[in-house]
């Protein structure tokens, strides 16, 4: 079904404990800024860093119940899908991420080749 080859670059974002529990921090990947959230229930999420509303830095927001609340004007988004909650912003981009045996954050950054 798929004609192109999907491959990805793995970025090591360092140990998870560099991010305080329940908070988020930003990383620069190529030209893009992304944010990693370390939710209290142990789930880790990777999303675009800026809020589509007025570019608020989501990393400074409050997480909970699988959502992130932007620190600027309190718009809410789903962490897992990036979908807006109660607002009609565009969905945030999300990226696959996992944690290595050693506790490091591994971001899978897509690069598509035909």
């Amino acid at each position: 079904m798929l004609t192109e080859t999907l491959s990805y670059v793995v970025f090591n974002l360092g140990n998870l404990n560099r991010i305080p529990l329940g908070e988020g921090r930003e990383y620069q990947i190529g030209d893009e800024e992304i944010v990693i959230f370390r939710a209290r229930d142990g789930v880790v999420y990777a999303l675009q860093a800026r809020c589509p509303h007025r570019e608020g830095h989501l990393a400074d927001g409050i997480t909970g119940d699988g959502k992130i609340v932007c620190p600027m004007h309190s718009y809410k988004f789903e962490l897992a899908t990036g979908a807006p909650v109660g607002n009609d912003c565009q969905a945030l981009k999300t990226y696959p991420v996992r944690i290595s045996q050693a506790g490091e954050i591994l971001l899978e950054w897509p690069s598509v080749t035909k």
Binding site: T5, S7, R25, G61, G64, K67, M72, P96
Partner: protein, 827 residues
Amino acid sequence: MSEKQKLVVIGNGMAGARFVEDLLARGGGNQFDIVMFGDEPYGNYNRILLSGVLSGTHQAQDIFINSLAWYEENNVKLHAGVRVQRIDRITKTVIGADDIAESYDKLVIATGSSPFVPPVEGIKSDEREGNKDGVFVFRTLDDCDGIAKYAENAKSAAVIGGGLLGLEAARGLANRGVETHVVHLMGHLMDVQLDGKAGKMLRNSMEQMGVNVHTEKATTAILGNGHVTGLQFKDGSALECDMVVISAGIRPNTQLAKDAGLAVERGIVVDDTMTTDDPDIYSVGECAQHRGMVYGLVAPLWEQTAVLADRLTGRKTEAAYTGSKLSTKLKVMGVDLAVMGRKEPENDDDEVVLYSEPSRGVYKKLIVRDGKLLGAMLLGDTSTAATLLQSFDRGSELPENRAELLFDLSGETKSQSVADLPDDAQICNCNGVSKGAIVGAVKGGCTSLKKLCDATRAGTGCGACKPQVEEILQFSAGDLLTEDASAHYYVPGVPLAKPELIAAIQAQNLKSVSAVFAALANGKEDPGSKAGLASLLKTIWHDQYEDERDARFINDRVHANIQKDRTFSVVPRIYGGVTSPDELRRIADVADKYQVPMVKITGGQRIDLLGVKKEDLPGVWKDLGMPSGHAYTKAFRTCKTCVGSEFCRFGVGDSTGLGIQIERKFQGIEFPHKLKMATTGCPRNCSEATTKDIGLIAIEGGKWEVVVGGAAGSKVRKADLLVTVDSHEDALLYTGRFMQYYRANAKYLERTYDFVERIGIEKVRQVVVEDSEGIAAQLDADIEAAVAAYVDPWEEAHTPQHPSQFVNLLSAKETAQIRSLQPAYGD
């Protein structure tokens, strides 16, 4: 002499009072002199919300519908607290306690019903009249009070009866931290409304919230001498408990009617016009029996009162009540359950649509006959309840694809599903409010939930339709939507009012925000509630509070106020607005060194360094060598001063000295909202003390006026005088005591101007100055503890709370490894 007819109403409950309201709304005040009798010594209250009072989501004072003043304003003569003993139909007179008699032309009996107490041994006390200690029924505000008080010292409680009311009582008790058991005679819970499968799932849900359920248990005796120690069952088993709430059904109060010789069967028999067999006597509510039915829910009786009011006023002489279709929702937090109509099919060709997903506790069942809905049961997911209720009420044709009735198939948000309903669709089934009426009220300016509910009465009955009302508000108000800090809850995500929340936190020793969510919100971490809880926990536990930084707003994580470009503002504390050349020099040096884009004198008599990078905050604080001014948080901000007696020719008090003293003492203490003060050396008020949260105004004779609840922000309000004192010590004392009273009792984000208005300055003065509640010493001790626990947050410049506390960007490294996958990624 009045030419009006005289109308007497016996019963001031949901039906009696509602009937009088209906009558007045139809101009009945001009046709009748109205007299009411009520057994309770006050106006009427919303009985439905007693469940909320018991579980702590409502305060008793919030459920009153009409105050005594209301009756006066509407020329209704109310005999509050007077029980009617007899109706004399020959002289057409009603006779009550203390020989109070009222003649009538027309009489309405709305005496409601009483709890049914099954014949069980050991209910009565051996020693005195009445029940054994710890035996309760659940019908009135007094019952509710009694249960709540007794529960404070009880370890375990049993509720006899697993119907709607019994389950609501059980949830209420469980919320109060009592080990709770429900004892039910039949094979499954709510057997009147639910089939066996749904009953079993409901049982699981109840058990998950810590309520123990025992079915097929016939209670034969209540054990214990003097007070309850347990229950004895027919099968020989027993259960230990300290209290019992009996909720085994209701019996209509028909004795008065029976004694007067009216036709009474199960209830007082009425026809379609709500008339008894005496043409001048009517009956509505739970005491009435219509076409063989006696109703135990409010929706039917509100239809009845409307019909009777229509007829008596002559508004609609043809009005008739033809019976009601029954539907209800369970008001137990954490369980979604809606039921309507039949629970089982009756004919062979009745169609049953069933969906069951026990792992999620979801069960849905529809009974359909000739394409129309005869009954429905929705457990665990009630997203389609509104639509189903519409079809049920109207008997409208159902869509071919029955699945549409079970699920929100469109995948659209719920607001759209309510949006799709026609304007005449009824949203509030207690008050009969249509969608059109709600939308109309929103357009008319009711843009907060509270205003909207108050104006339309939607959601003011059992409250189950509130989410839908809110949805309508959201889509019809759009940008105009205004917030109302979740009317009763302290924070939206934990359904408890502040006093109950504090009680639960203390009783269960909850010291962190995540512990509160785990214990009191089924583990759901509502992000909108975190900051409010963090503030409250700090207030309760002081230095024992387990600080979780992610619960704080960014300002409180980095102790500075975020700006639109993610830089921060730094406002060092300048006590009483008095600074020194040395301090000013340091501020100037910092501004140079960190290239601060703007240095501004604030309206709070200090200096703001705006545009500081997050990474630079610790350096800025270290170099300033001044404590935090807390310009970023819900805490004590500043005490503005004027020059006062030291320099000013009018000054009669040392406002600068007192202001500095105050700011040094109370700096940084957290409050439900920010708290600002000012001291002024004379009533000319140069520091604007009369519009501060707390103001101290020097007056002639060495005295200070302490004023509270002032505002000059989005709202302007002159502060109220709390007390006049004659020393700085007393000024500090009452300031601190008021502060603590506000801290302990205000809702999150409630400024003192709203708080003082809500409580009333008289009450505030009684508690804070006259010590009417005997808590002054405790308030003083609590505020002193907060003062003692204060630590300057800018100390974190030296000892950051986490290595990346002030870091925006962490480094990433690309690993050599590149994988290629066929055919998809993201395994």
